[in-house]
Amino acid sequence: MPAYTTSDTIVAPATVPGRSAIAMLRLSGPKAFDMLLDIMPGTNQVPQHRLNLLQEIEIKAPAEAGLPNLCEQAMVCCHHAPRSYTGDNLVEISMHGNPLLLERAITSLVQSGARLAEPGEFTFRAYVNGKLDLIQAEAVHELINAGSSSALALAQTALGGLSGARVSVWQEQLLNIVTRIELIHDYASDDLDASVQAEDVLTPAELAQSLQKMLGELESALEDSSRGGLIRHGLSLAIVGAPNVGKSTLFNALLGYDRALVHHAPGTTRDYLSESVEFGGLSFTLIDTAGQRSASDDVESAGVQLAQDWARSADMVIFVSSADENAVEPLQADNPSAGRQVLHVHTRCDILDVWPEDGNGVFHVSGKTGQGIEQLRYHIVTLCGLTEGSVLAAFNRRQAALIDSSVQNLRLALKALENGMPMDAAAQDIHLSRECLLDVNHSSSRQDVIDHIFSSFCVGK
């Protein structure tokens, strides 16, 4: 784990390495403005907040190199704390996109006391300074790494605070429940009966009902999240089948370009091929495998073995057979693809007189003419339970694990109530459940409950 502090000033390139029109570096921390002034000759005034200035900057040469200092025309923009991405003073310097120039600029800033930022450290500072909650900070990472338009949308939802808002709503619902329980606990029955409106006093049955409702919402969020995981990380799709049934043709057709060598000789594909492709807003890893047969040589039989491994580990399996012969099920004896989504695809349907109807998990395509490929893609996306835009807000693995603990504790509370345990027992479960939810975005604590009792109910004895 990197050892980083938040009291020093960090610097890093903000654009990808390599030649380009413009390259940008970012400098953030308490000394950022001082360091900027240091390289801006003839000025001792920090530029106004978010004002883009065309400015000559002086890039000091490394002391030992004996090189002259460089002057560079750059666009400089200062973001004044706390109104910056990191919450600290932040400087963005855009210069000509020469990697050497960028490196010299960074080196000179490091020499004047800046530190090279760790990956993600600007976002970390934004989080530490309260500019982003944890869900948003995680979303920044996901946004940058999103591999498909759905994953992009998902990350943007989280970054926009929608996932966080969803958690906040649950937190508030649980806060209300807990408050009403603690109200009952901390005020004697007689005083309460006298003080509080009858409908405010929670019965165990009502409590169970509200918990059940919460449970439903959390569980459906978890379902969304497991699908959200597929969106984020993509699905693997293995194409398996007997030799020479057109697997590689299908592979190429799904990819949209000729990647695999196609030949009518059985056993052409010996090693597996894997390529990324996006359709339906999702990213897939397509895997073309060797045909299943008793292979004649070691290399091919190793390929066959690999194909079987893929059939076991891929998220989805396309079992291919040719329309011109009867489908054989080579994986039947010890079906390694059991338990996962299997699509049966008949290839070479263009040679049939009548194009057959799709159905019962069997699809018909022609790799040669491309007919049926679009329908197949569509079915693959539907089979994932994922049509574009169907998952609005999903939680990542850490978030989902906490929501899951929250669910487990709610179940315990319900069980306790069902078993006739008093509410103070169930309350412990509900407190724990709430704490798990609070951990999702690290919000505040138990004190809320006490404040809430006083602000919501007129009690006083």
Partner: protein, 704 residues
């Protein structure tokens, strides 16, 4: 210096009494200075002790050898177990005491305690001496208004609401610590000179009325229970010679309208009072404003005592002018013709910032100076007494060179109270609530003696009789406890309590519990055995039963005790207790006296205490196991490394001084951080959260 003591306690309220008593129990030469000796143990608000969380505190004070519980037991006129329909952890006693009787009994107890000198006088200065090593100054005694100096190296101040106090009724304002009593202006000033930070807080009381001027037919009575055990852990409670009822009435639309109309005349709304008042005990003018939909606010009419004609109107705290108080009382059913004997009033006073105190209530500005009670920003007799006991005992223990009392969030409400005050501070009068305790199920009314008795015994806070009773009750608990045979009770305890002699009894107890017999029949059997009777007729008919005792998690409650209703609250039912007491041959001697209770009653008391405790533990077993595991787990975090880059300055919820302490000490693990002097368990919880957050964030960076 005219006289020298080991410990001086300033103030004779609920905190001061416990402080001086605890220190004297530890054998030190103690002095209690109070402005009025006949004000010792006075209850300026309603004469009521207990209620949820507060009653827990009182039970704990008693378990630790303190006075509040047994003085209440000796003087109550109405007592009830509250929340009996709810879980065991939120059930608590509440008693109405005879106000004058309570005060006299408290003073008598102090006078009977060896090592205590009572002094009447006003303390005007805390005397200190500079630290030769350049640290903070040390207390060396106090100076009284008449110029006398009293010397002691430990001074516990418990000035309650008296420090620079001002009372308000409407637009009338006068310097007074309580109605008709002088304010401690000089002391407040002196503390300021010492650089002790204070804040202004406010509290209020209700009007008191003449009991002959109300119409009882319009009121709902609340009668007392008859109980043989109340707040005392180590002895049964004697029945009082008189019970007095409380009464309930409510405000009307007209009351609320009138109060709203005259609201501007209240000291609270005219701007005269600036201090923060308690949110949980708002004045009636506050309630009317904040909850405009509620018209029928309840008013509990409580007896002030046996020999006075005064009733207290709980729920009507106010600082409206006297004539407005008269006017709105006339709109309340039953009180139409009530005559006010003393108006309700607000009092505003100095409170120390409790963040300037250590966990043991010692000042961070003057060593040897301890603060306790309402002065620390709390409210309530129970909260005050709890701190008094803690401060007095800790001052004495520090003088003796011993460790402070190990009161923690995990073992007591007092621990939670001390921890909350000294780590989180408070900006309003702090009231104890059960919801403040993370491990509420472990901190129950019924097990106070199990949790705190051994701590009090080891510290030397218990009398010989109390130690004997404690051991007798623990022996009975273990005898009833099915866990004994599972080896979950430490061997040292078994030996100390002579449990090897009751193994046979224990085995039978366990067998019977497995058969699903209720604790009651178990008790009968054990008693029959005690009496040498043949118990074979009681052998259970069906030998089959669950192998393991059911827990809340895996089995309906109905199978663990006879019926859920019995399981949860039935053991609190006082029928048996009552019957036994009435039939007791000694019932003629049940009036309160200093004579020890009859032996049979003592034995019954021990069984009842043990039975109640064991029954609750069984009902909650799964939950208690989880809570204990959680406490262990948090302890297990002690190996968690603190990375070099981790900044203590960024940890939320830590005091600045703690952040500095930690930054200086730079502990490498969470466990080491916990051992840095001045770091509290609550700090550790905050640190753990911050550390986890830091680790999660650096995971982000790693993924980059």
């Amino acid at each position: 210096m005219e006289r020298s003591f080991d410990i001086i306690v300033v103030g004779g309220g609920h905190a001061g009494c416990e402080a001086v008593h605890a220190a004297a129990r530890l054998g030190l030469n103690c002095c209690l200075v109070t402005m009025r000796l006949d004000g010792i143990g006075h209850m300026p608000c309603n004469p009521s002790i207990g209620g949820p969380a507060k009653g827990h505190l009182t039970r704990e004070i008693d378990a630790l050898g303190g006075l509040q519980g047994s003085v209440t037991d000796a003087t109550y006129v109405n007592v009830r177990m509250l929340n009996t329909g709810k879980g065991a952890s939120v059930q608590a006693l509440r008693a109405q005491s005879d106000r004058i009787g309570y005060s006299m009994e408290m003073r008598r107890r102090l006078e009977l305690t060896p090592n205590i000198t009572l002094v009447e006088g006003e303390v005007t200065q805390i005397l200190t001496q500079p630290d030769p090593a350049g640290g903070i100054p040390a207390a060396r005694g106090v100076m009284l208004a008449d110029g006398r100096e009293l010397a002691a190296t430990r001074v516990v101040i418990c000035p309650g609401t008296f420090s620079r106090a001002v009372c308000f009724v409407g637009d009338r304002r006068h310097e007074a610590g309580r109605w008709g009593e002088n304010s401690a202006m000089a002391l407040g000033h002196d503390l300021e000179q010492h650089g002790i930070r204070t804040q202004r807080l406010k509290t209020g009381t209700s009007p008191r009325i003449d009991k002959h001027t109300i119409d009882y037919t319009a009121l709902t009575p609340q009668l007392s229970e008859w109980r043989t055990n109340a707040f005392s852990n180590y002895e049964p409670s004697m029945l009082p010679s008189w019970f007095l009822p409380c009464w309930l009435t409510r405000t009307t639309d007209e009351t609320c309208r009138l109060i709203l109309e005259k609201q501007h005349t209240s000291a609270l709304y005219s701007g005269a009072v600036t201090g923060t008042g308690p949110r949980y005990c708002p004045s009636i003018e506050d309630k009317v404003v904040r909850f405009p939909d509620v018209m029928r606010h309840p008013i509990f009419i409580e007896p002030d005592g046996l020999n006075v004609d005064i009733l207290y109107l709980q729920g009507l705290s106010t600082s409206l002018p006297l004539e407005v108080q008269r006017e709105f009382l006339a709109t309340i059913p039953g009180l139409e013709h009530a005559r006010i004997r003393r108006p309700g009033y607000a009092v505003e006073y100095d409170a120390v910032n409790p963040l300037d105190l250590t966990q043991h209530l010692e000042s961070r500005q003057i060593s040897g100076l301890y603060c306790a009670g309402q002065f620390n920003g709390t409210s309530g007799y129970e909260e005050a007494a709890a701190q008094g006991l803690g401060a007095g005992a800790n001052a004495a223990l520090s003088l003796l060179g011993r460790d402070p009392l190990p009161l923690t969030r995990e073992n007591s409400y007092i621990g939670v109270l001390l921890d909350d005050l000294t780590t989180r501070g408070t900006d309003e009068p702090y009231r104890m609530l059960t919801a403040r305790c993370e491990h509420r199920l472990l901190l129950r009314h019924d097990n106070a003696f199990m949790r705190l008795g051994p701590i009090a015994r080891d510290a030397g806070l218990l009398s010989e009789t109390q130690v004997r009773e404690l051991e007798a009750m623990r022996t009975k608990v273990y005898a009833l406890d099915a866990r004994l045979a599972e080896g979950r009770i430490p061997a040292a305890d078994q030996a100390a309590l002579g449990l090897e002699f009751s193994r046979e009894e224990t085995r039978r107890a366990r067998e019977l519990m497995r058969m699903g017999r209720s604790i009651d029949s178990l008790l009968d059997i054990l008693e029959a055995q005690d009496a040498g009777n043949d118990a074979s007729g009681l052998r259970p008919e069906t030998p089959s039963g669950p192998e393991r005792w059911p827990t809340a998690f895996d089995r309906p409650l109905g199978s663990s005790l006879d019926a859920p209703a019995v399981g949860v609250s039935g053991y609190m039912d006082s029928d048996i207790e009552l019957g036994s007491v009435i039939d007791n041959p000694h019932s003629g001697k049940l009036g309160r006296s200093d004579d020890p209770p009859p032996a049979e009653l003592m034995e019954l008391h021990r069984w009842l205490m043990a039975r109640e405790h064991v029954a609750v533990e069984i009902v909650y077993e799964g939950y208690l196991e989880r809570a204990r595991a959680e406490i262990e787990r948090v302890r297990g975090h002690s190996e968690l490394p603190i990375p070099a880059g981790f900044e203590f300055h960024s940890v939320e919820g830590l005091m600045i001084s703690t952040r500095q302490l930690l930054t200086r000490a730079r502990p490498a693990t969470l466990g080491q951080a916990g051992r840095v002097s001045g770091v509290t368990p609550a700090d550790m919880a905050n640190l753990l959260v911050a550390l986890r957050r830091y680790l999660a964030a650096s995971e982000l960076i790693r993924q980059g």
